[in-house]
Symmetry: C2
Subunit: 790 residues, 2 copies
């Protein structure tokens, strides 16, 4: 086991590694050529359209000023400069609240660390049991600072119990304050938002099929009857997956056309040509511009007929509808109440914001949802506990003999001693590494199968699954040797009181492992995060080989979002480690503190400069963060109970049994006190906003404003005449609607896209961000979201 010296050496190595990353970052970030990798957010928000430093052609690509590299930590004060309010404005509430998790970690652990180090270390060191035991067990120096060093039956355990109480109470206090603050931030954010389509809209699923009537008619009649004063209009959902494919194809062709036109403008003497056949490899050579123009024309004919099919065929209208109301109050009422006698029909819920919708899942029927949930929860269970089985199988295949059988021509190379030993060390781990790399994708796929209709919900569910995986396979798996499957088997055959004991005993022994883990995964991992090595390489590769037009460059720059499915579970794991080890091996706490502080700075920098959230869920993930920290508290209490019971401090049991009960009831209280703020929209709030609206801008035509907010994004790429057609189509069913609003909604100027050229309006123009009238303040990156849609 590692001694204090080993830890010191490891810390030094990791700190040096982190510094190396930071230095590399400092060097790379000031190069103009990397500007789009390290500051994409400014491009997207329109603050920047080209690298700041201009000069000669070399200066455009490389910054030769060495001085800037020396100030390699000056991104830190820059990252801290922005206030929280500005961050909310700049990157949304989700990002701002995500940063608050790190400050919450600091708020919880700074006092705990001080208290634990000052009180517990002297208590543990002075006990000195392990000096006598040295011959029997190999213990590290770290263990002398931990609870293991205290003699069984010692009265000193009451100090540990008292501190566990103190830590629990402090953590709960901070959690309460933070929940309160985040809830009010959320309400304030929602209240201060300008008019949004989702505030007036409810998504209705499982609209029943009435024979001889369209879904639109049925829904119209139902809501006109049951919400006579507030119903305004509705937006049908078309099953446009096939059409979306054609749209994507046309975009590709359009892109090639732009590229060729650009090319011919630069070299007017040389018309670009291409071969007609597959991938342009063979066939007759033709003029490229003419070819693509012709292809696009052909495709557009196809699209027209497909579009006709989608719009005319009543089968392509899904039994889902976005129903809009004339007030927030009406929408709040509809979203929170049961509509139908049959509770599986007319399921109403708040509509996610348009860019947050995962369109594919809108059509899943109710019964199927139950089955899907069941199957997915079984699969997650299997994945968490049995994932080693298929990997071991693949590993047994992917050995050197197998490789030689498949590819005999490789034998001479493989048989080289150096390469052979490398492959033998590398191959068995490969399957596991590939699995761990694609795990988040698998979990996201599982969540999609579960049928959630918003990207935000999908990410939250994927994060939950990843957390379970980490809890079982990283936390428990490291403490108890063996695979999760073996653990499960062992647990099933142990008595329930034995389990915390088994784990509790090994907890102090694994402290050194987790300290190393924190340094490698936490410190160096975060330093790697700021370096963005992968996006850097990919961007430059794309820039070199793929980027043909400005639009492609924008696509290559796409910075993505914070990636909650991966970062949230990791954060929660650190909370768990800190809380569990606070009483057991307090020397671990400073390492956690360094992680929280460093990660806070790094993510603040990334959120300000890099990431670009696809959606805004107004901190909807907070209840999960809260309840997982509570779960960490419960786990730590149970494990301490098990640990102390092996220390024969049995008289302490009643004291420790009370603690989880109190923690649980605190959790229940918080749940009922704050969670409704994240799930429901209070009528008081809705009414206030409505009244405010009515007094300030009473002349707005809400119907026109809402008309196309929830149209499937691909229909936004229609040309003018087609859009009119869609609207007429839709308005045919709005037979009773006011003719004046009908006119205004049938040809809204903002939806007009000039035919053919310039390209469809969802192409991003950094210089002139598209202004959708129905979503006036939506950030321009909006369009990116559509890009990612199927």
């Amino acid at each position: 086991m590692a001694t204090l010296q080993d830890i010191g050496v490891s810390a030094l190595i990791n700190v040096l590694g982190a510094f190396a990353f930071l230095l590399a970052f400092a060097l790379l970030r000031v190069q103009p050529i990397n500007d789009r990798v390290y500051f994409p957010k400014w491009y997207i928000s329109g603050g920047r359209s080209s690298p700041r430093r201009a000069g000669n052609s070399v200066g455009k690509l490389v910054n030769l000023d060495i001085k800037t590299s020396f100030t390699f930590l000056n991104w830190m004060p820059q990252a801290l400069k922005m206030s929280e309010a500005e961050i909310i404005n700049h990157a949304g509430l989700d990002s701002a609240v995500f940063l608050r998790i790190y400050t919450l970690g600091l708020k919880i652990f700074v006092p705990i660390t001080i208290l634990a180090l000052v009180i517990l270390i002297p208590v543990n060191v002075s006990s000195g049991t392990l000096f006598f035991l040295r011959k029997e067990l190999v213990m590290s120096n770290i263990d002398k600072l931990s609870i293991s060093n205290v003699r069984p039956r010692s009265i000193k355990f009451f100090i540990h119990i008292a501190l566990q109480y103190a830590f629990t109470i402090w953590t709960c206090f901070m959690l309460y304050k933070e929940y309160d603050h985040v809830a009010s931030m959320r309400l304030h954010f929602l209240a201060s938002q300008r008019r949004h389509a989702e505030q007036f809209t409810v998504v209705v699923r499982n609209v029943p099929h009435v024979s001889g009537r369209s879904v639109l008619d049925t829904a119209e009649q139902f809501f006109k009857k049951n919400h006579p004063n507030t119903y305004l209009c509705q937006q049908a959902v078309y099953n446009a997956n096939k059409f979306a494919k054609l749209v994507r194809k046309r975009d590709r062709l359009q892109n090639w056309l732009d590229y060729n036109q650009l090319k011919s403008e630069r070299h007017p003497d040389k018309r670009p040509t291409r071969k007609k056949g597959f991938l342009g490899i063979w066939g007759e050579r033709v003029d490229s511009i003419e070819y693509y123009k012709q292809q696009i024309k052909l495709l557009e004919k196809n699209m027209a007929s497909e579009r006709q099919k989608v719009l005319k065929d009543s089968k392509s209208i899904l039994p889902v509808s976005f129903v809009s109301f004339n007030s927030r109050w009406g929408a709040a009422v509809c979203a929170q109440t049961q509509q139908s006698k049959n509770p599986t029909l007319w399921l109403t819920n708040w509509a996610p914001e348009p860019r947050d919708i995962y369109w594919r899942n809108l059509a899943i029927p109710f019964v199927s949802l139950t089955v899907r949930k069941l199957i997915i929860s079984l699969s997650v269970f299997a994945l968490v506990f049995f994932y080693m089985i298929p990997i071991a199988f693949v590993q047994s295949l992917a050995n050197l003999e197998g490789l030689e059988r498949v590819a005999p021509f490789l034998r001479p190379v493989i048989e080289l001693k150096f390469i052979k030993s490398f492959l033998q060390g590398f191959l068995p781990g490969l399957a596991l590494k590939i699995f761990l790399y694609i795990l988040p994708t698998i979990l996201m796929l599982m969540s999609k199968v579960e049928g959630y209709i918003a990207h935000s919900a999908l990410e939250r569910r994927a994060a939950a699954k990843y957390y379970y995986f980490m809890l079982v396979n990283v936390f428990l798996g490291s403490i108890i040797a063996g695979t999760a499957f073996e653990q499960l088997d062992a647990f099933l055959h142990q008595s329930p009181t034995q389990i915390p004991r088994t784990i509790g005993v090994s907890i102090p022994m694994k402290a050194t492992f987790f300290i190393t883990y924190i340094m490698v995964d936490g410190w160096a991992g975060i330093a790697g995060e700021i370096l963005r090595l992968k996006p850097l390489i990919i961007f430059h590769l794309k820039n070199m080989f793929l980027v043909k037009t400005e639009r492609d460059r924008e696509k290559a720059m796409n910075p993505g979002s914070v990636g909650f499915p991966k970062t949230l579970p990791r954060l929660q794991l650190y909370f768990l480690l800190g809380i569990v080890y606070a009483v057991v091996t307090p020397i671990l706490l400073p390492f956690i503190l360094v992680f929280f502080a460093f990660a806070y700075l790094v993510y603040r920098h990334q959120i300000v400069n890099v990431y670009n959230q696809q959606y805004e869920s107004a901190a909807a993930f907070w209840p999960h963060v809260h309840s997982r920290i509570i779960a960490s508290l419960l786990i730590s209490q149970l494990l301490l109970l098990g640990l102390l019971s092996t220390k024969k401090a049995a008289n302490s049991t009643p004291l420790l049994v009370i603690l989880p009960i109190l923690t649980l009831s605190f959790h229940n209280y918080c749940k009922s006190r704050f969670e409704p703020a994240f799930r429901k929209y209070p009528l008081e709030e809705a009414m206030e906003k409505d009244i405010l609206d009515r007094t300030t801008e009473s002349d707005i035509n809400l119907k026109a404003y809402l008309a196309d907010a929830y149209l499937h994004p691909i229909f936004h790429s229609f040309e003018e005449e087609e859009l009119v057609e869609v609207n007429v189509e839709r308005n045919r069913s709005h037979t009773a609607s006011d003719p004046t609003t009908e006119i205004s909604s049938s040809s809204p100027p903002h939806q007009v896209n000039h035919p053919r050229s310039p390209p469809p309006h969802y192409v991003y123009h950094p210089s002139s961000p598209p202004q959708h009238a129905y979503h006036p303040h939506s950030p321009p990156h909006y369009a990116y979201h559509y890009e990612n849609e199927p």
Copy 2:
């Protein structure tokens, strides 16, 4: 262990016992003197005001016609005569659905019994392991018919597994059908109800305190703002516990006055007198009528000042309000939505019907509720597992030596050998018997502490607690010897997979015990239920000693209600036994069938003739019944799994593991499919009823109709001028209300009670049932409910 013969003898004894009870019932029920014990429902519903057979003075009391006694089973066809619709009309939906539980039992168990007897008994008997084992283990004949008789590793276990599948599927199918039917019955019942105050009313708890404003003003303003189109009026809740005490005292005095006046009317020559002092035992002798009149006058002065205090003092208005809306739609919206930004304030819920409200719990604040729930769940846990500890302690005190020390004068009697042995056998069990007798009361008290505001909810919670107690102490306690505490200890130290095995193994051995239990508790217990021995004796005792006036006789007759807190858990225990033993020892099933059939007849008779529900919850208990039967299925599947694992039929494990998962997902499906019908009120339904109302009786003054529906019942006993005052008081805060409605609500004729004599209107007059205009069709027994109120 009991042989088949023993079971036969036991069955014979119990059948004879049941017949004896039935015979006694047949004799007693035709006696006119017992008419009010066996047919009180008819008195209450106004169908009868005096025993049917009149004649000479002896004939009024005793029926000497022997012939009627011979037809001692003719109550059975009578009980079956009423159709379900008539029962709903006569006794309410709760009672009708309660009967459906018995028919559900028959529907589930008749096919299961036939299948199990035809298939399993031959399979089990033909295996004949136990013939070889006879020397080692003492097995009964019953065991030859059970699964114990099958050889380990036998292929025959697959028959058992197949049947377990078949039984589970059949049970789920019947449960689904029944849930569907009950849900639609409930919706139909609610839809076909005439106008009720609770359809328009929402109970609002935790109205925030705004300084300088009364609760009424705050609530009025809040709802006028947030439900501007639907808010109608509200009813404050007064803390009138002290006033209620005075009202009860005046009633007592009024009763004595009536008695004395009656006495003096019969014997005009002899004025009744009484002594002035304590209980009329000493002091100056005075004229009784004068004395009581004077006392009542004094008390009424007191009451007047107390009433002034209640009405004037703003502190006596609780932060609770009954808010009424002008449509069912408005109330449905308010009940189902969140009102305030702070989710612990303005908690809205459907108001229970006025007679269902448990007034005392209305004032409990939100934080206190969380704490109360925690404390009560801990107490229930302690009660279920540790109830033997205090009883053992009491038992150790309550022995003969203790008795002799406390009461030395009893020693000569106690020392008599006969009495001594009787007491020694009797005393130790006494504490336990007393405990079991008062257990339902304790559980009800616990539920009251939990803070539920409706009698129906209280009864459901008490039933749940009683079920846990029975499950642990009757079911598990009988299977595994030892107290529940010992079991808990054993379970904590066993592995989770060991527990079903331990229980599973002893299950077949305990079949004979449970057969006896079914006969004693089920058959004879139900026969005792129809005899109503305790109410019979109490009624006649009261009639002899306490009844002074007609009103007292009515009170003595009070039949109570079905007593869901005791009957529902018992029923659920029988479902559990039937489902668990269906595969293991199918010979138990016919006994269960007899129970269900017999109990169905008896309870049908009792519901038609005796019981009188205090409230109507429209079958709100059904989700509990459903989920407990599902729980029984799960328990049976786990135990079979454990049992088969000891039979070394390990290859069957995967087959049996799937079953609980399927059952659970079936449960989840049913929950989402049907439970909303029991918890929420769909807007579609509300709107339909509203429209119907508007077209049929558009001229109704809803405000007047709702004005006093939710006034605390004791205020209904005010005299005329006082009521006016109350209304004026209340209307002062309704400053904005329509003056015409104010007039109509300030002196509604139906609330007028002629001062002093005749007695206050909640005295029951069988000949002219009181007609409350605001509750036009409420059964006359209404008044009784108020009687029971604190």
